[in-house]
C-alpha cells in the first residue's frame, strides 16, 4: 500500500522517472536533507520533496505536511532546527519532527516558513491520500476541494477507493460527482467516459464544463495531406477561417516555409549595402519610399547579396500547397463527439442563465439607483427643489454608519443602530438646510441649484477634513456576506439582494405615506397649490420642511446601504448625484413610479451595454448618458409624465 501511494504521488507529480527503490526514510531525515528547499520552496522544484515526505510512511508525515501548509512550520534561528508550531501565549509551542514536545519559544526566536499558494496546493494534494478517509468531515471536504482544484488520474483511483466507507451523505454526493467528473476525463475506457458524459444530461455546472472543455482542446496544424488517424475537429479554409497571413505564419513556425522579411530587416539589409550613395543602383535619396525599397531589395536579391525573401507569389503557392486543420488533442472521436454534443446542449442553457444573471445585475443596479434617487424624487420631484447636496446627504449617511460601527460592537447590532441614526442625522441636516437656505429660494430654482452646490462642496471638504480621503470600512454582518447562488451562473450577493428588498420597502413606504397618511395628503396639497392649502389650515412652511427632511433622511439610509457594498469616501455621494438626477428626470418628475421606471431603465441599460462591450465599463456609462440625453429630447417629461393639473407649470 505504501509503495503504491508513493508511486502514486510520484506519478502525480509527473516525476515517474524519479521513482527508485523505496526507502522508508524518516521525516526528520528527509527534512534535514532538503532543508534549503523546504525553507524557500518553489512549486516547480519542491515536488519530489513532498512526494518523499508523503511516501515516507512516517506517521509524522501527515502532521508535518499539514503544519507546513498551514504556515505552522518554523525554523529556530539559533540552530536552524525545524519544528511544528502551535501558537501560544508566550510565542510558539514547539513539537519536533519525532512528534515530541520541544518546549516553548518566543516569536523572535522562530522564523515561520511560509510556503506560497502553489506549494500549499501541492501539499494539499499530497495530503489527499491521508485525509480522503479522515474521520474529520472537514478534512475530507478539504481533500475533495484539493482534488476538484487539480484533477488528475491518480485522484480518480483514490476517490473510487474512498466512496464506499463515506458516511456523510453530502460528502458522498460530492465524492460521487467528482468521481464521474474524473472518469470522463481520465478513465482508460472510452465507453466509460462517454457514459459518464451522457450521465450528466443537461447539467450546466461550472465543474462539468471545466471537465468537458479540455476534451475539446485543439491544436492548429498545417499539412500537405490530410493527416490520417488524427481526430480532426475541422479543416480550415484560408480566407474565411483564417487569414492568409496567419496561415503563412503557421507554415513558418512549423518550418514548412521561410519567414517573410520584415520592413525593419529590409531596411537594415539595404543600409548594409550602400555603395557610393546608391543601393543596387538606386540613389539613396529615392529610398524614402517603400516601393523603391522593394525594388532595390529585389535587385540585391538578384545579385545574390542578400538572402532571398519570400515573395507574395511564393507565399500564395506555399499556402495553396497545404491544408490547415484544427486537431483535437483527445484522440478518441467518440469521446470528443459526446463532449461536443453535451457542451452544445449546455451552451444554450448557460446562455439563458447568463441572461437571467445579467437581469439580476441590472435589477440590483436599478435598486441602487432607485434608493439613491428616491430622496431626490421627493425633494426634486414633489417640491421642485434642486438639491445638489443630495449626494453629500448620502455620504453623510454612510459616514454615520461608519462612526456607529466604531462605537457599537457587533456588525448586526451596529447596523440596527446605524439605519435609524443615519435617517435622524440626515433628516436634521435636511431640515436645517431647508430652514437656512432653501426656504429663501423657492422662487429661484436656478439659484437653489447653485446654493446647494455651494453646500455640497463645503460638506464634501468637511468630510475630507474629518474622515480623511482614504476609504473607511463599513462592513456588512456575516449573514449579509456571501451570495445567493442558484447555480454556477446565477448568483447575487446577499447585500445586493438586501438593497433590492430595501428599495421595495421604501417604495411601499413612500406610497403609503403619500396616499394613506395625513402628512402625505398635506404634502400633495401644498405641492399642487400652496395658497389654497394654506387657507385650508395647512402650514406650508412646516410641510415643506418635513418633506425636505424626509427626502434627506432617505438619502441617509441609502448611504448606509451603498456604503455596505461599495466604498465609503467623501466622494461616495457625488458619484451618484448626476445619475440620480437623471433617474428622476428620465422617469418623470413628481411621480415615484417614474423614479422606479427611470432607475430600471438606467440600470438595465447600463448592464446591457456592458454585456455588449465587456472589456470597457467606462464605455457603458458614456453611452448610457448619451442615450439619456437623446431620450430626454424626445420625451422631455420622462417616461411617466404627469398630466393635467398635477403637472403644474
Amino acid at each position: 500500500m505504501r509503495a503504491f501511494l508513493l508511486g502514486l504521488a510520484m506519478a502525480f507529480l509527473g516525476l515517474t522517472a524519479h521513482v527508485g527503490p523505496v526507502l522508508a526514510e524518516t521525516v526528520a531525515k528527509i527534512v534535514a536533507t532538503h532543508a534549503r528547499d523546504i525553507e524557500k520552496p518553489s512549486r516547480q522544484t519542491i515536488g519530489p520533496v513532498i512526494a518523499d515526505l508523503a511516501g515516507s510512511g512516517d506517521p509524522m508525515a501527515a502532521r508535518l505536511l499539514e503544519a507546513w501548509g498551514g504556515k505552522l512550520l518554523g525554523k529556530r534561528k539559533s540552530d536552524g532546527a525545524i519544528f511544528l508550531l502551535a501558537p501560544d501565549a508566550a510565542g510558539y509551542a514547539l513539537t519536533d519532527l519525532q512528534g515530541a514536545s520541544a518546549g516553548i519559544a518566543a516569536n523572535a526566536e522562530i522564523t515561520v516558513l511560509k510556503p506560497n499558494a502553489g506549494v500549499r496546493g501541492l501539499i494539499a494534494a499530497a495530503l489527499v491520500q491521508f485525509t480522503l478517509s479522515d474521520p474529520d468531515p472537514a478534512k475530507r471536504a478539504e481533500a475533495l476541494n484539493s482534488i476538484a482544484k487539480d484533477p488528475n488520474v491518480e485522484a480518480l483511483a483514490a476517490l473510487r477507493g474512498a466512496t464506499a466507507n463515506e458516511t456523510d451523505p453530502a460528502l458522498l454526493a460530492r465524492k460521487l460527482r467528482l468521481e464521474r467528473l474524473l472518469t470522463l476525463r481520465f478513465d482508460p475506457d472510452p465507453k466509460a467516459r462517454v457514459a459518464a458524459i451522457e450521465g450528466f444530461g443537461a447539467d450546466a455546472g461550472l465543474d462539468l464544463r471545466a471537465a468537458l472543455t479540455p476534451l475539446l482542446a485543439t491544436t492548429r496544424i498545417a499539412a500537405v495531406t490530410r493527416p490520417e488517424g488524427a481526430n480532426i475537429a475541422r479543416s480550415l479554409t484560408v480566407g474565411t477561417d483564417l487569414s492568409a497571413a496567419d496561415a503563412y505564419a503557421l507554415l513558418v513556425t512549423s518550418g514548412a516555409a521561410p519567414a517573410r522579411i520584415t520592413r525593419e530587416d529590409q531596411k537594415q539589409a539595404l543600409a548594409a549595402h550602400i555603395a557610393a550613395g546608391q543601393v543596387a543602383g538606386v540613389p539613396l535619396s529615392e529610398l524614402g519610399d517603400q516601393a523603391t525599397r522593394d525594388r532595390a531589395y529585389t535587385a540585391l536579391e538578384a545579385a545574390g547579396q542578400v538572402p532571398s525573401a519570400a515573395t507574395d507569389d511564393e507565399v500564395a503557392k506555399a499556402i495553396a500547397a497545404h491544408g490547415f486543420y484544427d486537431v483535437y488533442t483527445e484522440a478518441d472521436a467518440t469521446v470528443t463527439a459526446a463532449a461536443r454534443s453535451a457542451l452544445d446542449r449546455i451552451a444554450l442553457k448557460v446562455a439563458a442563465m447568463q441572461a437571467a444573471d445579467l437581469s439580476l445585475d441590472g435589477l440590483s443596479l436599478a435598486a441602487i439607483y432607485f434608493l439613491a434617487a428616491i430622496g431626490l424624487a421627493i425633494t426634486f420631484g414633489v417640491m421642485g427643489v434642486i438639491n445638489m447636496a443630495h449626494g453629500e446627504f448620502i455620504t453623510m449617511g454612510a459616514y454615520t454608519g461608519y462612526v456607529v460601527q466604531q462605537i457599537v460592537p457587533g456588525y448586526t447590532a451596529s447596523l440596527l443602530v446605524a439605519f435609524p441614526l443615519a435617517f435622524a442625522v440626515t433628516f436634521a441636516a435636511g431640515v436645517g438646510m431647508e430652514r437656512l437656505v432653501i426656504r429663501h429660494l423657492y422662487k429661484r430654482p436656478l439659484e437653489t441649484l447653485l446654493a446647494t452646490f455651494g453646500i455640497s462642496i463645503a460638506l464634501q471638504q468637511i468630510f475630507k477634513n474629518i474622515f480623511g480621503t482614504q476609504a473607511r470600512p463599513l462592513t456588512a454582518p456575516d449573514w449579509l456576506g456571501g451570495a445567493l447562488t442558484l447555480n454556477d451562473v446565477i448568483s447575487i450577493s446577499y447585500i445586493r439582494l438586501a438593497i433590492i428588498v430595501l428599495a421595495l420597502l421604501f417604495l411601499g413606504f413612500f406610497l403609503y405615506l403619500m396616499k394613506r397618511t395625513r402628512l402625505g395628503l398635506e404634502v400633495r396639497a401644498v405641492t399642487q397649490n400652496p395658497a389654497m392649502a394654506a387657507s385650508m389650515g395647512i402650514n406650508p412652511d412646516r410641510i415643506n420642511m418635513l418633506t425636505f427632511g424626509l427626502g434627506s433622511g432617505i438619502a441617509g439610509i441609502a448611504g448606509v446601504s451603498i456604503g455596505l457594498y461599495a466604498k465609503v469616501t467623501s466622494e461616495l455621494g457625488s458619484d451618484y448625484i448626476v445619475q440620480s438626477f437623471m433617474t428622476v428626470v428620465v422617469g418623470g418628475v413628481g411621480n415615484i413610479w417614474g423614479a422606479l421606471a427611470g432607475a430600471g431603465m438606467i440600470g438595465g441599460l447600463q448592464k446591457a451595454i456592458e454585456w455588449l462591450n465587456p472589456s470597457n465599463t467606462l464605455a457603458a456609462q458614456t453611452y448610457m448618458i448619451i442615450f439619456i440625453i437623446l431620450f430626454i429630447q424626445f420625451r422631455p417629461r420622462g417616461i411617466i409624465a404627469l398630466r393635467g393639473r398635477a403637472a403644474g407649470d
Binding site: 539613396l284 429661484r444 452646490f453 462642496i457 460638506l459 458614456t622 424626445f634 422631455p636
Partner: protein
C-alpha cells in the same frame, strides 16, 4: 416688460455710433484701459521684456486667468443675459484645448521623429514617419497607430478651424435638440451637465484616441520654436489672451447693448411672452449657445498651451459649475461682472491652495487653508446667493447709484440676481 416698451429699442444704426455705443457701455472704456495697463505692467515686469519683477509662472497664471475670464464672459451671455444656466460650457473650453493640443503634439513629435530618422542611413518613408509619430504619441498609452481623429493634426490651419468648428457643431446639435423640445430651466442645466459628463467619460477612455486619462501634454513647447524660452512664450500668450479678451468684450458689449441684447434679456425674464410677441426664441437661444461655445473653445485653445497639459478631468462637471460660480460671484448680467468674478475667484483660489495663505491657529485646532478653502468657497457662495445675489457687481451699482427697479411688489423675473434692463438707471 411695460417699461421696456417705454424705452424704445435702439435702432441698429446707433450701435455703431461711437458715442451711443460708449454711452450705453460705460464699462468698455474702463475695461480696455484696465486691460491695457495690466498688459503693459506684465510686459514690463516679465523676465523676458523687463525687470523680472514677476516670475514666468506668474505671467502664465495671469495669462490663463485672462482665458478663464473670456470663458466667463461667454457664460455670462448664456446665463446672465439669456437665462440659460448651462453647466456644460467648460466642455467647449476643453474641446478647444484638445483641438489645438492635437496640432501642438503632432507637430512637435513629428519634428523630433524627423530629426532622429534623418540621422539614419536611408531617407525615411512616409510610413516610417507616421509610425514613429504614432508610437511616440501613443506609446504612453500602449498603442502606436494614429487614430482617425488625428487626421487633420498635421495642419495648423485645419486644427485652428476645428477649434471653432468642433465646439460650435457640438453646441449646435445639442442646443438644437434641447431647445427644439423646449427643455428649459433646471432640466436644461442637468442635461448640459450630463453632456459634459458623457464627454469627459468618453475622453477618459483610451479608445477615444485622445490618450485617455493622460490627455495631451507638453503643449507649452511650440513646434518650431524649440529655442524660444518659456519666458518669452508666456508673455506672447499673455498678449494673445489679452487681445482676444478685449475683442470679445467689444463684440459682446455691442451685442448685448443692442436690440439683440434686449431680446435676450426678455427671454431670460419671460420666455413665453417673447415667443408670443413673435420672436423666434429657439433661434436666439441657439445662436447664443453656439456663439458662446465657440468663444469658450477659443479661450480653451489659448489656455491649454499655457497650462501645458489637457486631460479629461478638465471637463468634469465640477469645472462648469465653477464657471457659473465665478459669474455669480462677479455679478451676472453685466460683462465686467463675469471678468471680475473669474479673475477674483480663480486667483484667490490658487492663492489659497498654493499653501501661501497664513494658517489661523485657534488653540486646539489650526485652520489650514489648504483644507478649508473649499469650505469657505462653498459657504461664501451660499452667502452670495442668499444675501448678495448681485455679487461683486452690486458694489459697482452702489458707486453708480444704480438700484433695482421697484415694481411695487411684482417679481423682477426669475433671475433677480441679474442686472436688469437699463431702467435700473434712475
Amino acid at each position: 416688460m411695460t417699461e421696456t416698451t417705454q424705452n424704445p429699442v435702439t435702432a441698429p444704426a446707433n450701435i455703431l455710433h461711437p458715442s451711443g455705443y460708449l454711452r450705453r457701455n460705460p464699462s468698455v472704456l474702463w475695461f480696455l484701459l484696465g486691460l491695457a495697463v495690466l498688459t503693459l505692467a506684465v510686459t514690463l515686469l516679465s523676465p523676458a521684456y523687463g525687470g523680472g519683477g514677476i516670475s514666468t509662472s506668474f505671467v502664465k497664471t495671469l495669462g490663463k486667468t485672462l482665458c478663464l475670464c473670456l470663458a466667463a464672459l461667454a457664460m455670462d451671455i448664456v446665463w446672465g443675459y439669456t437665462g440659460i444656466l448651462s453647466l456644460g460650457h467648460m466642455a467647449f473650453f476643453a474641446l478647444g484645448g484638445y483641438m489645438i493640443g492635437q496640432w501642438l503634439m503632432y507637430a512637435r513629435t513629428q519634428e523630433i521623429v524627423l530629426q532622429s530618422l534623418v540621422a539614419g542611413p536611408l531617407p525615411p518613408t512616409a510610413e516610417e514617419i507616421a509610425q514613429g509619430v504614432g508610437s511616440q504619441i501613443f506609446g504612453v498609452v500602449g498603442g502606436s497607430d494614429i487614430p482617425l481623429i488625428w487626421g487633420f493634426a498635421h495642419s495648423l490651419p485645419l486644427q485652428l478651424a476645428l477649434v471653432v468648428l468642433v465646439p460650435g457643431l457640438l453646441a449646435l446639435i445639442f442646443g438644437w435638440l434641447a431647445f427644439r423640445s423646449r427643455v428649459t430651466g433646471v432640466y436644461l442645466s442637468i442635461l448640459t451637465q450630463a453632456m459634459t459628463l458623457a464627454l469627459s467619460l468618453y475622453l477618459f477612455q483610451n479608445d477615444s484616441g485622445l490618450r485617455g486619462n493622460n490627455g495631451l501634454s507638453g503643449l507649452q513647447n511650440l513646434p518650431g520654436l524649440a529655442d524660444v524660452s518659456q519666458d518669452f512664450l508666456s508673455v506672447w500668450f499673455f498678449w494673445a489672451s489679452a487681445l482676444m479678451l478685449a475683442l470679445a468684450y467689444l463684440l459682446l458689449s455691442a451685442v448685448v447693448s443692442g436690440k439683440m441684447g434686449s431680446v435676450l434679456r426678455a427671454i431670460r425674464d419671460d420666455e413665453a411672452r417673447v415667443r408670443f410677441l413673435g420672436y423666434p426664441v429657439e433661434g436666439y437661444k441657439l445662436f447664443v449657445f453656439v456663439v458662446t461655445a465657440i468663444l469658450c473653445g477659443i479661450a480653451g485653445a489659448l489656455y491649454y498651451p499655457q497650462a501645458g497639459i489637457i486631460n479629461p478631468a478638465e471637463l468634469a462637471p465640477i469645472a462648469s459649475i465653477y464657471l457659473a460660480v465665478w459669474v455669480a460671484i462677479g455679478g451676472r448680467g453685466r460683462l465686467y461682472g463675469a471678468v471680475i468674478g473669474a479673475a477674483f475667484v480663480s486667483l484667490l483660489s490658487s492663492w489659497f491652495t498654493g499653501g501661501r495663505a497664513p494658517s489661523i491657529p485657534l488653540g486646539v485646532y489650526t485652520i489650514d487653508w489648504v483644507d478649508w478653502w473649499q469650505v469657505l468657497l462653498g459657504l461664501s457662495f451660499v452667502a452670495v446667493t442668499l444675501w448678495a445675489p448681485k455679487g461683486i457687481g452690486g458694489v459697482f451699482d452702489r458707486f453708480q447709484g444704480l438700484h433695482s427697479p421697484d415694481r411695487k411688489g411684482q417679481p423682477l423675473g426669475p433671475d433677480a440676481g441679474s442686472l436688469q434692463e437699463s431702467e435700473a438707471v434712475e
